[in-house]
Symmetry: C2
């Protein structure tokens, strides 16, 4: 037995207002839930991106539900799916908004990745699934 997929991907940010602007307004994700100062949750396809303030989640439950504590500090990493055509449009959008492209790579085995930073310093990649041999 193994899992059919990852349901929740987590990043950490201490400033959730900046995270909301970036993931909702710049990346276009649907914000589904928010608890001020603690977390903000987004839907991405049939998965969830959960952004937590680690200073809260290392000690605090959510709405009285005893979820186990967690919290990491430092720049994390995530990669979103994109087609070759979408990568072209993402790059244009980021340039138009003055967001620095930190890297734009063609992988030796085929496929392209572009990398930016979110306001918290997490490394945010957009890549073609074929870099992993995935559909």
């Amino acid at each position: 037995m193994s899992s059919a997929g990852i349901l929740e991907t987590v990043l950490y940010a201490q400033n959730l207002d900046e995270a909301r602007r970036f993931y909702r307004d710049t990346l276009g994700l649907l914000c589904t839930q928010e608890e001020e100062g603690r977390h903000i949750f987004f839907r991405c396809g049939d998965q969830m991106l959960l952004i937590f303030n680690p200073k809260k989640t290392i000690e605090q439950n959510s709405a009285g539900i005893p979820v186990p504590p967690h919290g990491a500090f430092g720049g994390g990493h995530i990669c979103f799916r994109a087609t070759a055509s979408e990568l072209h449009h993402w790059r244009q959008r980021f340039e138009n908004q003055g967001i620095a492209i930190e890297a734009d790579l063609e992988w030796p085995r085929g496929g392209r990745s572009i990398y930016i930073r979110d306001p918290a310093g997490n490394s945010v990649e957009f890549a073609e699934p074929r870099i992993w041999g995935l559909p």
Copy 2:
């Protein structure tokens, strides 16, 4: 425009041998790539779970490719998809292997989650997608 899904989910672990045993042998994920001391990569459905040693990735490229640095310290969080029936089997497997169940929750709006820890201290959840209203 927004992304169709998350392609890479990242956790950090300084001991990659322990991470291999846990994610490959206990959770049954397919290990697809490894660079000793730096990273170990797993496939999960049509997504990738990437586990990095943050002490390496905050400074070191991979195989000469200039990927942007990243690396976080502290217990992160991930959640894998599971059906109600699979949750029953996961709980049995973890108990048989002496892995502590840190929480086993029924959410107020429906759906169940169980939580364990990976050897690096990351909070690892298995949950029904309906806890997010997802199929």
